[in-house]
Symmetry: C2
């Protein structure tokens, strides 16, 4: 186990009706807030009205940034930065899923930076000071509500890039499972895949001796596998929504990564290239790519950890590591299929025409993946197998 | 799953030689520190000299409180409070195991309180303001390094009482597994039992639908079962020390208790009575009492969760819940025996003479235990079975 620093400082307000508490959580930072959200669903559901009421009752002044898209665009970020500067905003509250929360993190670091905020994502700028942020989560998937990571898309350059810092962790996040009752089956399934993928990225590493992290990671995977299918049949099952929601935050708040050099993240890098061009739902892209990646990297060296996953998560009984790994990969593919996720790029109408460009993009900064290093040719091969 | 608030704010500095960083962690709070520790082992090992050097190099002024005992006494707390007031101390650094850390928490809340600090433990006083604290952990066991709980003993009243508050969580804790290389087998084993017991107390509850918490709890238990025996044979095994150390913090930082009404804690309450009178090592007392408690509370209603524990942690293959539970209890008892922990009160030379007094003490505030309520007669019966 490697040295690590762990500080998952976000205060989690979990459960029914915790929204009434957000005024008290925000006021220590000031009484002018940028309220950021996506489409109309938070208005239709009544969530928007409830939040505005709570903030008004706390004497908090609101500025609004609406229309943040899935795969949030840098244009929304720039608009948010402009609003924060113009209205001297002291706190940013995001209401939405990972896209909205990723967007407000970008705004939070951009306000005090003189250059263009995209500089942070292409490693040209270093963070100086950030505005405090909070979140009301409406979709269990990215884990952004409890970490300092942010992913933003740039249509002009056809790029989707990530950055992060501990100071970008939300001060608080409201996790009310009932808010996710209305999430449709497609987004619910994609969310479950996303949570599992975050565990995969941190689980499949070359590190040795991380038993306790791996055991907890396996517990989170089993939670997803248990409750995912329940949710597709019974979307208002509170227990299932609650377990998936808490799992989503725990899957990417740093906990299962402690003591490891780095996660793998190749599959995420590849998927980011796909969804940068095709605007595919992130979790759906991961459902296509992860089993292919597992198959592609399987060899004598990677088999033991894949076999551990197969045995501990799927209960595979097989002594040979490579064969056990294969069975686990099949179980994974079958599970994603049972969650009605696409099984191939063809399923989502993606052809082979941009494969070279996507492989090029994924490897822009060099080979990807820490568990197994993958060059451009590997990425192109994975995308081709995923067709 | 019930509503919960989770904020495990302690910054964990985990790994070799992280001690060099403590000056930077303390300075934001001030440059006068109470350095609190137990016996001579921190001096013998060179740890004391290293810490003093780091703090001196940071320009931090030191006041010392030495001689904090296992099952820390309220007298040490009072002395620490006196020193903090006299020297205008701004931060308390504890170097030790749970006893030292529990003691500095008591000091931290006592400094600003006009009455006697014991009032907090008998529920006579409410916390107002507390001094910030940090810890350098020398023993993996209590989890005190990442939570806000504190247990103090009062020889005058023959009591051992607990209290806690989020504001008592250490600002940082240094977890360097190499510091625990010299912990002897008895203390190592008692620590492992203590970690497992904390999970038991939070796992065996009447709550339903806490799958993700339970799965992570099972992961921590498996970690203890895997590495405990390795440590008895190979005390300087870094991987084993590291896993047990991180497990000890995760076992009681609130994580596995999220979404539950309350842990059980009957066995801890009973053990506190035993060690208040006999000054027994806490983990050894728990090793004696937990299998007896499991046996005692086993009935049709409690069997399902005990059976889940048996199946998921011990791999018991048995469909009948009561029988599965029995097998898991036997495995637990065998494991504690294999860790060379005492199997009965007789093993540690405790007779039946104080059973009534201990039962009385445990139930001073009414029945104990949330999984199964236990009155005085139940506690006396458990202690008698443990003889």
């Amino acid at each position: 186990m490697r040295n690590f620093t762990y500080e998952a400082s976000t205060k989690i307000l979990f459960g029914k009706n915790r929204i009434v508490e957000i005024g008290n959580e925000i006021l220590p930072y000031g009484n002018s807030v940028l309220l950021a959200y996506g489409g109309g669903s938070v208005k239709k559901s009544g969530l928007y009205d409830k939040i505005v009421e709570v903030l008004n009752n706390s004497g908090i002044r609101l500025v609004e940034l609406a229309g943040i898209q899935p795969n949030p665009r840098v244009e929304s970020v720039r608009e948010g930065i402009r609003l924060c500067r113009e209205h001297d905003v002291k706190f940013i509250l995001g209401v939405g899923g990972g896209s909205v929360i990723d967007c407000i993190k970008a705004i939070a670091m951009g306000v005090a930076y003189e250059g263009d905020v995209w500089d942070f994502y292409i490693r040209k700028a270093k963070m100086e000071s950030v505005l405090p942020i909070g979140a009301v989560l409406t979709l269990a998937a990215t884990g952004s509500e409890m970490n300092g990571g942010t992913v933003i898309s740039n249509d002009a350059t056809k790029e989707k890039r990530a950055t992060g810092h501990d100071s970008l962790r939300p001060k608080f996040s409201v996790l009310d499972p009932t808010i996710t009752f209305t999430v449709n089956n497609w987004q619910t399934a994609a969310g479950v895949v996303d949570v599992m993928s975050h565990i995969f990225e941190q689980y499949f590493t070359q590190d040795k001796g991380t038993f306790v992290q791996d055991a907890m990671a396996e517990g989170i995977l089993k939670t997803c596998i248990h409750y995912g299918p329940i949710l597709l049949k019974d979307p208002e099952n509170y227990e299932a929504r609650a377990n998936i929601m808490w799992a989503s935050s725990l899957a990417l708040n740093g906990l299962t990564a402690t003591g490891k050099l780095s996660g793998d993240w190749a599959t995420h890098m590849i998927e980011h290239e796909v969804s940068a061009i095709y605007d595919l739902t992130h979790g759906a892209g991961l459902a296509i790519l992860f089993p292919v990646w597992m198959d592609y990297i399987l060899d004598e060296k990677t088999a033991p950890k894949l076999a551990q996953y197969s045995r501990n998560v799927w209960g595979v009984k097989e002594d040979d590591d490579v064969e056990a790994a294969r069975q686990g990969i099949t179980k994974t593919r079958e599970f994603f299929n049972a969650m009605n996720m696409p099984a191939s790029l063809e399923d989502v109408k993606i052809t082979n025409e941009n494969i070279e460009a996507m492989a090029e993009g994924a490897c822009k900064f060099g080979p990807v993946g820490m568990y197994k290093r993958l060059g451009k040719e590997d990425v192109a091969a994975i995308l081709t197998k995923a067709l």
